[in-house]
C-alpha cells in the first residue's frame, strides 16, 4: 500500500540537538498524533518533511514521491499548518486565499468560503488585523481548500488561550471527522489530539520512544495499588513505583504481566485503574524507553 508519507533514517543535526535517525510512516486515512515535549524535534520533523529545512540525511516520500524541492508536485497532496502562520499581512484573507488558489489545481473557492463560514471567520479583514485564533483559522482554510490527501498540522493552536483553542479545535475536528485524509498532528498537549487520533507516536529528545494505537495504550496501561509487606522485589512492566509502608502504587504498561506477578508474590487488596491518555503520555515520555519498547 502507498503510504501517505514515509520517513527513512531522517537525521537533522543542530549544534545542541539531533533529530533521529528517525523512521516513521503514515497510512492513508490514519490520524497519527505526534506527541512530545517542547524541543523534542516535532517541528523539525515537519520542517524537513515539507522542505522548509534540508535534512542532513535520510529519505522522505509523500505518496511515493520523493520530497524533492525542485520537483514539487508532491506538495499538491499536502495541506500544512505550521507553528507560524505566514500571510501577505496587508491583504485580506480573501486575497491571501486567492493568491494560494493559483498554485493548486484542486483549489475550491466554494470549500474555502464554506470553511470560513464554519469557522465564523470574516475574510475581508487584512491578515495583520486578525487575532491569533483567526490567523489559525485562516491558515487551516488555506491548508484545506485544495482538499489535500495528507494534512500536516504542527501545533496549530500553540499560543492560543484555552477558550479560543477549544473553539478552533472543535470546528477543526468537525471538519476533519468527515474526511478520509491522513492527518499528522504534532502537539505537546495530548488532549488536543486524543479525540481524533488513531495512533500516537511519542517523541523525546529527537527519538521516537513508542508508537501505538490509542486502544492498545488504554487497554494495556493501568495504575495498580496493592498491599505487600515484602522489601526486595521488582515488578515487571512498570514505569513508576511509590509506596508508603506496605501500601504500594505502580504504573504498569502491561497490567496482565504486573497483575500475574503480584498474584505470585501474594500481594493483597490489589486494585487496577484505567489511565487517561494524558497520564499515559506523561509516563511514556518520562519512563525508560527500553522497557516500554520491549513490551510493545
Amino acid at each position: 500500500m502507498t503510504n501517505a508519507f514515509s520517513i527513512r533514517n531522517l537525521v537533522k543535526t543542530y549544534p545542541e540537538f539531533q533529530l533521529g535517525p528517525l523512521n516513521l510512516e503514515l497510512e492513508p486515512g490514519t490520524v497519527l498524533g505526534y506527541v512530545g515535549p517542547n524541543g523534542s524535534g516535532k517541528s523539525t520533523t515537519l520542517h524537513c518533511l515539507v522542505g522548509l529545512v534540508k535534512a542532513d540525511g535520510g529519505e522522505m516520500h509523500v505518496f511515493n514521491r520523493v520530497n524533492d524541492p525542485n520537483q514539487p508536485e508532491w506538495k499538491l497532496d499536502i495541506g500544512y499548518v505550521g507553528d507560524e502562520h505566514v500571510f501577505y499581512e496587508n491583504w485580506s484573507g480573501e486575497k491571501n486565499l486567492k493568491f494560494l488558489a493559483q498554485f493548486y489545481p484542486n483549489w475550491s473557492n466554494k470549500l474555502a468560503v464554506d470553511l470560513a463560514k464554519r469557522f465564523n471567520l470574516s475574510l475581508t479583514k487584512p491578515a495583520k488585523e486578525l487575532s491569533g485564533g483567526n490567523r489559525v483559522k485562516l491558515a487551516l482554510i488555506a491548508a484545506l481548500a485544495h482538499s489535500p490527501k495528507l494534512l500536516l498540522l504542527d501545533e496549530p493552536t500553540s499560543g492560543l488561550d484555552p477558550v479560543v483553542r477549544a473553539e478552533v479545535l472543535d470546528v477543526l475536528f468537525e471538519v476533519l471527522e468527515d474526511g478520509e485524509r491522513a492527518i499528522f498532528y504534532s502537539t505537546h498537549i495530548l488532549s488536543d489530539i486524543s479525540r481524533l487520533a488513531d495512533e500516537l507516536a511519542f517523541l523525546d529528545n529527537g527519538q521516537i520512544k513508542l508508537r501505538a494505537t490509542k486502544e492498545d495504550l488504554t487497554e494495556q496501561w493501568r495504575k495498580i495499588s496493592f498491599r505487600f509487606s515484602g522489601n526486595n522485589f521488582k515488578l515487571e512492566a512498570t514505569t513508576s513505583h511509590k509506596h508508603e509502608g506496605v501500601d504500594h502504587q505502580v504504573i504498569s504498561f502491561n497490567h496482565e504481566v504486573t497483575l500475574r506477578q503480584l498474584g505470585e508474590l501474594g500481594a493483597e487488596n490489589v486494585q487496577a485503574y484505567r489511565l487517561g491518555i494524558d497520564e499515559i503520555a506523561v509516563q511514556i515520555l518520562k519512563g525508560s524507553s527500553a522497557d516500554i519498547l520491549s513490551a510493545n
Partner: protein, 219 residues
Amino acid sequence: MWKILKTEIRYHKTVITAAYASGVVFLIVAVLSGILKRMDSPMATWSLMSVVTSAYIFLLIHIGSHDETEKRERLHALLPIPRLKLGIARMALLLLLQAGFSIIWVIGVMAAGKGLELAYLYYMLSSNAFFCLIVALIAIFLDLGHFGRNTYRRIFAGFGALFVILVIWLTLAGKIIPLLEYIFLPYTTPAGAAIFVSIAAGLFYLDVVIYTRRKSYLK
C-alpha cells in the same frame, strides 16, 4: 514564477508607484531646469543617476523589510513551485524594479537631447549592472546565512573586511583615484558595459544557485 512576480508587484504597488513617481518628478525637474542639458558627458549624469537610484534603494529597503517581517520566503517555500523558479523570481523582481528606473533615466536623458549618443546607453548599462552587482552581493551574503553554522557567511564577510582594508590602504597610499579611474574608464564603452553586465549576471546566477541550496527557508 510569473505568479510570484505579479503577486509581489501587486502587493507592493503603492510603494513602487510612489518610488517611480518620485524618480519621474526628479527627472522632469532636471530636464525642465536644464540641469541635464548642461551635463556634457555621460559620467556627469552620475549625480542624476544617483538620485534615481536612491529612490530604488528606498524601494528595495521597503520591500526587503516587509519580506523579512512577513516571512515571505517561508510562505513561498511551501508552495508547489520548483525552488529554482523561486530563486529566479526573487532576482527577477529586483531586476524588473531596476529596469523600470533605467527606463525613467533613459527617457530623461533622451528628453534632454542626449539619447543619440551610445556612450550614454553604455554608461546606463554599466552603472545599472554595477548596482545590480552590489545588490547581488548583499543577497548572497543574506542567503549564506542559511547554511548551518554561518561558516560560509563568515568567510564571505572576511573577504568583505579584507576588501575594506584594501580600499583604506589604497586611499592612504593615494592610489584609490587612479584605480577608480582605471576601473570606471570602460564604463562608457561597449566592452566595459559587457564586462559589468556579465559580472552582475554571474553574481545573480550564483545567488540563485545558493538560494536553491539553502538549508533553511524558515525566515
